[in-house]
């Protein structure tokens, strides 16, 4: 692939974790992000399932791209993604029935996570297998990181525990709202606020540096 020449494996991997984080920067995949992050375990299992689906789909799409006619490519991507989602759904039901019950309909709904289809259309279908898989791994790890940070904050405040290990003793007063949907919205909003604040600070700093360089010339 000609356009892969400019790419760097490491860069393609790390961009999804921070710079292009699917949740905090691209604001994709909001549905599972808000719905199932009321505990760290739920967040990790959801993230793991998404990682499996995204890496599998990106690999297949990149590997099969010359046989995928572009007129029907979206249908084919969805078939590929849905297959991986079904595999993840049944495997979780067999291996972790308790968590599967809590995640409920949100496992099948991974199909509708626009982050996954977006990576196929924007990246995997245009690049080689190695970069596609690296990109998928980075993006899904960024997604897992986001789910986990939201899930752990909500579990710590809403249940006084992390991974079901109590942190504040017997008489902890739970912040009930944190495990309910409004807590998801509030926490996510505050995290996005933080990311935007960091981005704004960084931009201001870089401008200052550029200014200083211009003046010194």
């Amino acid at each position: 692939m000609d356009m892969d020449k400019n790419l760097d494996t490491y860069q393609e991997f790390v961009k999804g974790i921070w710079r292009d984080n699917p949740v905090f920067v691209q604001v994709l995949g909001m549905c599972p992000m808000l719905a199932v992050t009321n505990s760290a375990v739920n967040a990790l299992v959801m993230g793991g399932a998404t990682l499996f689906v995204l890496m599998g789909s990106s690999f297949l799409v990149a590997a099969l791209k010359q046989w995928i006619p572009k007129q029907v490519r979206i249908s084919l991507y969805i078939i590929i993604i849905a297959t991986f989602v079904t595999v993840a759904d049944y495997s979780l039901l067999a291996m972790l029935p308790g968590v599967h019950k809590e995640l409920g309909a949100f496992i099948p709904l991974i199909v509708a996570n626009c982050m996954i289809l977006g990576r196929q259309e924007a990246f995997a279908s245009r690049h080689g297998i190695r970069f596609a898989v690296m990109d998928a791994a980075g993006m899904s790890l960024g997604f897992v990181l986001a789910l986990f940070s939201l899930g752990s904050i909500r579990e710590i405040l809403g249940n006084g525990s992390l991974f079901n290990i109590p942190l504040f003793g017997e008489t902890f007063e739970p912040w009930v709202i944190m495990i309910l949907p409004p807590g998801g919205f509030i926490t996510l909003g505050l995290i996005l606020l933080f990311f935007n604040w960091v981005a704004a600070r960084k931009k201001a700093f870089l401008e200052q540096v550029a200014q200083a360089e211009r003046e010194s010339l």
């Binding site: 504040f168 003793g169 008489t171 007063e173 009930v176 509030i186």
Partner: protein
Amino acid sequence: MSRKDPDLLIQTTPVLRQGLTTPHAMRDVWLSLLPLVLAATWFFGIGALLLLSATIAGALMTEWVFTPEPRRRDVIRDQSGLLTGLLLGLTLPPGLPLWMAFLGGAAAIGLGKIIWGGLGNNLFNPALVGRAFLLGTFPIAMTTWSPAGGPGQLFEIQGSLFALPFQSPVYDAVSSATPLGLMKFEQQSTGLMRLMIGNTGGSLGETSGFLVLLGGLFLLLRRDFDWRIPAAIFASAALFSGLLHLVDPARYPGPLFTLFSGSLLFGAIYMATDPVTSPLSPRGAWIFGIGIGLLVVLIRNFGGLPEGVMYAILLMNAATPLIDRYTQPRVFGRKAGPG
């Protein structure tokens, strides 16, 4: 539509909206709230003052932290953060731990005001946002009502106030039910006289119907708020509860009980009239108030909760931009209707 000043064109979106920032109006509000603070102390002991200080501290500290340096002094000086903290404190149960009250003050300013861009841009009444946050976060502590004491207990402070952060409160006395709770769960009414005086279970500043009305009357005489909003709330709450009362007097309380129980008076006079979050035009004010009264009656009688004033006002706050849009005086020379 006739307004006091016919030359003044009131428009919604492009003009700057401000809260009660003139010192004169602000002083009136403080004066009208003073009897409520004293009554709260009288009924619930000096712990009430600690609670009010905690919400105010939470509100002011949040305001301080999130305001950029050059504007800090102005923002603190305009007293609106102080007022938000005090109003929130007056709606809290008397035995609430101080750390929760502080958090509520912080949520009121942070989630109710700062994230909207500061005073004048917020869609919801900040004090009620703080209260809604507390009710959602600590539903048990926020609905545990310590009984009203008397002068003998003036200097007794309830132990539950001093629960450590993140820890559950331990209550000294058996909790008492509010008049609304008694009505909803035990079908037991409370006499009007007690509701007027205020020696019932309930939020700090809301139990005494007489004092709240007095404060409202004072603000009305000083023309500090739009009288139409409380008038519309009282009228519609009385009308709808009266209709229900006619259908089944045993199940649905009558208009007087509806008006004087819970936080209806306090909410109508101090929360719903917030100029930032209520409609501008007189017609809008009527619609706004009638909506609140209707929602209060619906929530109290058909909802899962005994009290609904807070959610009623917040819901109508959300409808305020829409009300403003449809009641905005028509620009001269344009045809009515769309297009």
